[in-house]
């Protein structure tokens, strides 16, 4: 069977690269957690089936995406679909596991893998229709992730800065929050927290509409916000952001390969 080539495959691999960076960036922390749950669950909880408390299951699910590296060599549509399917299923598995259910990484890897699985089935085709849908779906799913955060923060405790102050200024051990805590009067840090909280809400609200944005603008805004988020948090947040960044960069790449819509329409109308 002839191996796949071309820009569509490159776009798929860009998304795969973002996915794998996100997944494995927290390897040491995750593996330590899974090993501690190796012989006995670190917690038994009535909601979770026994198998979803088992550290060995979590470690297996975490390691399976090593198979994803097969997506970088040669490849057929079947292989890319199998890889994408594995990546989606392990994401769902860890979202449902007691050790990892709270980690938003697996929400973004799940959606990114769904996009990759859908796109894998279009790699052999031709015509710009599939690219346009790929871009719309890609920007749509990144916007969806922002929408979740935006709607969840539409509450007075966030708008007032109370939550931001409590989570970041009072608890985070790294700059700039530790510096604010040590050097700023409490009133000033609360005021700053209010504006940071509001900035976060407005930013997420604006980016939740990404599906309606021109692709270059969407790509620039998303990557810019991701850089700021990484500077304000720690590098581990890349586990959540890298899979989304991979999809966005893939969409930007596909967008650059397209002829403008009006040219296509004019051609179709003769």
């Amino acid at each position: 069977m002839k191996p796949l080539t071309g820009k569509r495959l490159i776009a798929w691999r860009i998304a795969l690269a973002g996915w794998l960076v996100g997944w494995f960036i927290n390897t040491s922390e995750n593996v330590g957690l899974f090993v501690s749950a190796w012989e006995r669950p670190i917690l038994e909880h009535p909601l979770f089936p026994g198998v979803m408390c088992d550290g060995r299951v979590a470690l297996l699910l975490f390691a399976l995406p090593l198979a994803g590296f097969a997506g970088f060599s040669g490849g057929t549509v079947f292989r890319l679909r199998v890889v994408s399917g594995i990546l989606a299923l392990v994401s769902l598995g860890l979202l449902g596991h007691l050790c990892t259910y709270n980690d938003a990484t697996y929400t973004t890897t799940f959606w990114s893998a769904l996009w990759m699985g859908w796109w894998a089935g279009r790699i052999e085709g031709s015509g710009a229709g599939a690219e346009r849908h790929a871009i719309a779906l890609g920007q749509g799913l990144v916007g969806l992730c922002f929408l979740g955060g935006f709607v969840g923060k539409l509450t007075p405790e966030y708008w007032s800065g109370e939550v931001f102050h409590g989570i970041y200024v009072l608890q985070k051990p790294y700059f700039p929050f530790s510096w604010m805590r040590d050097n700023w009067p409490e009133a000033a840090s609360k005021t700053a927290s209010a504006w940071m909280g509001r900035g976060m809400i407005v930013t997420e609200g604006v980016l939740s509409t990404l599906v309606f944005w021109p692709t270059r603008a969407a790509l620039g805004a998303t990557l810019g916000v991701f850089v700021v988020m990484t500077l304000l948090a720690q590098v581990q947040i890349l586990s959540v952001l890298a899979p989304l960044a991979g999809v966005m960069v893939a969409c930007g790449f596909l967008g650059e390969t397209l002829e403008p819509e009006d040219i296509l329409r004019d051609a179709a109308e003769g």
Binding site: L47, R132, H133, G148
Partner: protein, 171 residues
């Protein structure tokens, strides 16, 4: 060619462009399913501020008190980073908290308050049993849960729900 180069800088809205020039791709079942999933989840999220039942379902998801695992798991794919105003108070059972407000002196947490016993295991959990009180607030709606967490013979913990109160409206 000139026209194409000029056209590259024209603004295209991806969703509209896909609708107008997406060809037969837009009619394929998997493509429709993908759009449908994104649309349905968006509606679910946007309903949260106005439909108390949706808020309650998401709060129970965060507190791990959904009625069944299979009702909880599908919600896990819905992005909800840093949703609600969440707080917790963890007290060793041999040092019960003061009577009155069970959330006095509580700490803020971004989401999933019970994660203290899994993800954030840096807290030095040395007592034999704990009382974990969690509270999520959202636009006047509140879920309060109290859990008993007992150390097991093998060193792990077991968490059991002792009390759960959901309220909506002015307090």
């Amino acid at each position: 060619m000139e026209r194409m180069d000029r056209g590259r800088w024209r603004v295209e809205v991806p969703l509209l462009a896909a609708w107008r020039t997406g060809g037969e791709e837009g009619g394929k079942g998997t493509t429709r399913l993908f759009y449908g999933a994104l649309g349905a989840i968006s509606l679910w999220m946007m309903a949260m501020p106005v439909v108390p039942g949706v808020t309650e379902a998401v709060m129970r998801r965060f507190h791990l008190t959904s009625r069944h695992y299979l009702a909880w798991l599908p919600q896990q794919v819905v992005p909800a980073m840093y949703s609600f105003a969440n707080r917790y108070r963890l007290t060793p059972s041999e040092r019960p908290g003061a009577a009155g407000d069970p959330m006095a002196g509580a700490f803020w947490v971004n989401h999933y308050p019970p994660r203290l016993f899994t993800f954030s295991r840096r807290t030095g959990l040395r007592a034999e049993s704990y009382e974990l009180c969690c509270q999520s607030d959202y636009r006047g709606r509140r879920l309060f849960t109290k859990m008993r967490v007992e150390r097991q013979g093998d060193g792990g913990f077991r968490m059991e729900l002792e009390e759960e109160r959901y309220s909506a409206g002015p307090r």
